[in-house]
């Protein structure tokens, strides 16, 4: 029972991270119908920036554990968001009118570029987050021990997701984003500045991805320049699982995938851990490409 509970909490924490990254995929896909392959790498850069800022500024001594995390998160969010906007300007905007798959290739190129620049700057080795960043508190939930950090990660990701959802549903800008996702042309005719909406999407998505990168650094303690791909693919799987373009879908898909992976790794085979997510991806695309919460759309002939 305790083993099960450990997998459950671990799955939810990792799932929360997947969900945060998945939001970036799903929002960009919603507005541009583009799989932003470089999104996973923005997440990875978030993890590296977090580590750099942490060691360079020596924040840990001055602010105390939670202050450090908050300050880091704020800086990483902003920096990765800037990178996201730059990415859109350089690699995607010139291709807005081009064939859809041209943008996909450009996204792949951007992904390769980001990965390799990080490798050149930081080296190919794993880098390690200071392990005493957060106190290793263990709390008891329903009589079972759970590391505090898991709860923090889950809570933080859920808070961000709910905030995003409220923003999208309740504000005027959120409505503009939704409108642009449904029909860019019509949105433009209604006086919505679609370019600005797209830029905003490239602020929000990468910012959340950067936050997720920081979380992974703090949670697992080590980061690598290739981790963007693997997390990116899994988060994309989560987005597809929930129904791509659908914001609540990304959250549900992320948590679900985290759980599937944690339980499959624990009860089936740890060596095949990564393969489970890809199997889920392939199965969902074959059986129900619109995902769990997605709507079926007829292809126009």
């Amino acid at each position: 029972m305790e083993f099960f509970f450990q997998q459950l909490t671990n799955g939810l924490a990792v799932g929360g991270i997947y969900a945060l990254i998945a939001l970036g995929y799903t929002m960009v896909y919603g507005v541009l119908k583009l799989i932003n392959f470089a999104h996973g790498d923005l997440f990875m850069i978030g993890a590296y920036l977090g580590l750099t800022l942490l060691t360079a500024l020596g924040l840990a001594d001055r602010l105390g554990p939670f202050g450090v995390i908050a300050a880091l998160a704020a800086m990483v969010l902003v920096l990765v968001a800037i990178l996201g906007v730059l990415l859109e300007r350089v690699a995607y905007r010139p291709l807005r009118q081009a064939h859809r798959l041209s943008a996909v290739v450009s996204a792949l190129g951007a992904s390769i570029f980001f990965q390799n620049i990080v490798m050149i700057v930081y080296g190919a080795k794993f880098l390690v987050y200071p392990h005493d960043l957060l106190p290793r508190t263990v709390v008891h939930l329903f009589g079972m021990p759970v590391p505090l950090i898991r709860i923090l990660i889950l809570v933080a990701s859920v808070v961000m997701m709910v905030a995003l959802y409220t923003f999208i549903q309740r504000t005027k800008i959120g409505t503009a984003i939704r409108a642009a996702a449904i029909d860019q042309g019509a949105a433009r005719l209604m006086g919505i500045n679609v370019d600005r909406v797209i830029a905003l999407v490239f602020v929000i998505g990468p910012a959340l991805g950067g936050a997720a990168g920081l979380m992974v650094g703090v949670y697992y303690g080590q980061i690598n320049f290739t981790m963007g791909w693997i997390y990116g693919l899994k988060a994309f799987t989560a987005a597809i699982l929930g129904g791509i373009g659908n914001i609540p879908g990304a959250m549900v898909g992320g948590l679900l995938l985290g759980l599937i992976e944690a339980f499959a790794a624990a009860y089936l085979s740890i060596a095949w851990k990564d393969a489970f997510a890809f199997c889920v991806l392939i199965l969902i695309l074959i059986v129900r490409p619109t995902g769990l919460l997605g709507e079926r759309v007829a292809e126009k002939v």
């Binding site: 583009l34 081009a98 996909v104 190129g109 392939i282 695309l285």
Partner: protein, 319 residues
């Protein structure tokens, strides 16, 4: 204009054929690697270039071919080159099984799924699936190939073996391009609804394109295993697929000369600038973005097929 092209091709071929005599073992081996990639990229070109399917899991078929050869050679002692058809066949069968359910997926989804497949294959190889792949260390002790009783060992000997197969591939694929089959793939790439509306069984042709590409990747696997005598899962990782993908896009989708040029640029050129080896992928990433913006059709895009319009109607040989 056309004659000039032929002169270029002839001079290039002559230079290439004479090159082992002029180059040392290292550079001959570089050309061998280029040759293998030319063959692999030409096989991907059928799927990605001609049929327009965004397939990024080609390394999976290559792996099936290489492992088939390695396993059958080390366990049953079958001669390596005889295993080439077997490897091609198995890779083709594998493609048939995995491609069937995913063939209808839209471009970007197909891309993601094929990435998933190549990763699953790699994980399976590392985990020593069925107990025959040797796990993360792979398989070693694969025999050298024998041609007419002569054992192939030096880079120069391998050069002629590999480029012989490249030549056969170019010849056959050139014919394939200039046929009903090649045209059908292009129609599907351009507009698959219109292709179906013109009477083309799009699902069937997509599947066959996949299978042909996979069979050839399987052949390449045999050559690779024979050349290396040791193979491991890391030779077939996702980045191999990315390189192949890049070669085809950079050189020119659906163009044999383009793909050959692309291979020399992507695989050969970095050897000349070894001091910048780490920056290689960085440059490729930036080039991919730039290409899509400024020259999406590639460096040497295919020329329209030529036909004799005077009624005697035999497709002209125009590469």
């Amino acid at each position: 204009m056309k004659n000039k092209r032929w002169i270029v091709y002839l001079v290039f071929t002559a230079l290439l054929m004479a090159s082992p005599a002029m180059l040392n073992r290292y550079w001959t081996d570089v050309l061998n690697v280029v040759g293998l990639y030319v063959m692999l990229a030409l096989s991907l070109n059928i799927i990605l270039g001609h049929c327009g399917m965004f397939h990024m899991g080609h390394a999976a078929f290559y792996a099936v071919g290489a492992y088939t050869t390695a396993i059958l050679n080390t366990t049953c002692n079958l001669p390596v080159l005889w295993l080439m058809p077997v490897s091609g066949l198995l890779a083709g069968l594998f493609a048939l099984v995995i491609a069937r359910p995913i063939i209808h997926l839209r471009g970007d989804y197909l891309l993601i799924v094929t990435i998933g497949f190549v990763e699953i294959v790699r994980i399976a190889l590392i985990n020593n699936v069925f107990g025959i792949t040797g796990g993360a260390n792979g398989i070693f002790g694969i025999d050298r190939p024998t041609v007419f009783g002569m054992k192939i060992r030096t880079p120069a000997q391998f050069f002629y073996l590999i480029w012989f197969f490249v030549a056969v591939t170019i010849f056959l694929f050139h014919k394939l391009e200039h046929s009903r089959f090649g045209r059908a793939l292009n129609y599907i790439r351009e507009d698959d609804v219109a292709a179906a509306g013109s009477g083309i069984d799009t699902a069937h042709y997509k599947l066959i394109a996949f299978v042909i590409g996979a069979v050839w990747a399987g052949f390449c696997g045999t050559l690779f295993a024979a050349k290396m005598t040791i193979i491991a899962p890391e030779s077939f990782n996702f980045w191999e697929s990315v390189l192949l993908f890049m070669i085809v896009l950079l050189g020119g989708r659906g163009s044999i000369p383009g793909v050959i040029l692309g291979t020399f640029l992507v695989i050969g050129l970095p050897e000349l600038f070894r001091q910048f080896a780490t920056a290689r992928m960085l440059v490729f990433g930036a080039v991919m973005i730039g290409m899509m913006i400024f020259r999406p059709e590639g460096i040497l895009p295919p020329q329209p097929r030529a036909y004799r319009l005077d009624g005697s109607a035999e497709p002209e040989e125009a590469a």
